[in-house]
Point group: D3
Chain length 61, copies 6
Amino acid sequence: MPIVQIELLEGRTLEQKRSLVEKVTQAIIESTGAAPETVSIIIRDMPKENYAKAGKLASDK
Amino acid sequence: MPIVQIELLEGRTLEQKRSLVEKVTQAIIESTGAAPETVSIIIRDMPKENYAKAGKLASDK
Amino acid sequence: MPIVQIELLEGRTLEQKRSLVEKVTQAIIESTGAAPETVSIIIRDMPKENYAKAGKLASDK
Amino acid sequence: MPIVQIELLEGRTLEQKRSLVEKVTQAIIESTGAAPETVSIIIRDMPKENYAKAGKLASDK
Amino acid sequence: MPIVQIELLEGRTLEQKRSLVEKVTQAIIESTGAAPETVSIIIRDMPKENYAKAGKLASDK
Amino acid sequence: MPIVQIELLEGRTLEQKRSLVEKVTQAIIESTGAAPETVSIIIRDMPKENYAKAGKLASDK
């Protein structure tokens, strides 16, 4: 029943997302013993103006 | 004070969302006794390339 | 594939949670047409000192 | 290591977001003693049809 | 309608949380113009074994 | 800046969590090119009475 939410800065390609969900699912299966079909992953693409570190928007860096 | 976050694959109509928040709010009120005006719901529409099950993107199925 | 996250102030009984997930799942099925086995729900119990409205902790009210 | 997620109705300007992350980061530093560079903030813009209060979509009010 | 979720390493005092929600609410009001009573904040305390940076648990540092 | 949230049914050992964050971080680096020190992971342990699938609590199965 692992449910994973991943926030990324926007701009990842479909190929990168495909690879991401394959590898993250594999990582979860190997470390927790969960069955593959129980692993759900949600990706969220963040515009650069919607992410900040140390009080500064990524779009201002 | 119930706060609800719902992730759905994109493509739901306004009418479906209207019905969704009415019925989910009703379900919460009935089962927990919360007052209607304390129930907040956030809906998030997921593109098919942003959801995966068993290591496979929904857009690849 | 609907994934639901529900934050509640702690203190709900097992019976209330059981009723909550039955009714919320039913509400989602009816309004979106999703198949029952695709609906996942996560409940999170909040201590009163971990929830605030209008700048005031629920434990201070 | 504070990680903050903020849901807002869409329509905030870049200037409002810039001010938001500066002030919220400052608020966290002052109240918890966290170092500035450890504070991450994610903003999510909600369309009005994706937020409901008391069972009613914000777009219907 | 701003809804804020804040993840903190566990160990903050009640006084720190009280200050946190006051100051963060104030920061949101000032930068977005939201009315105070529309601002909800959820705090989540993370055990050190439930947070990782660069692939290492905080409890292992 | 990838930020990952993982919900697991409670009962994972410290060793499993250590392995989980190492492997998931590695998976993200390989597929997106993110730098290791930018990857944050939050794990949340769910009691079985706080997770439901198809309208049924995990604790009732």
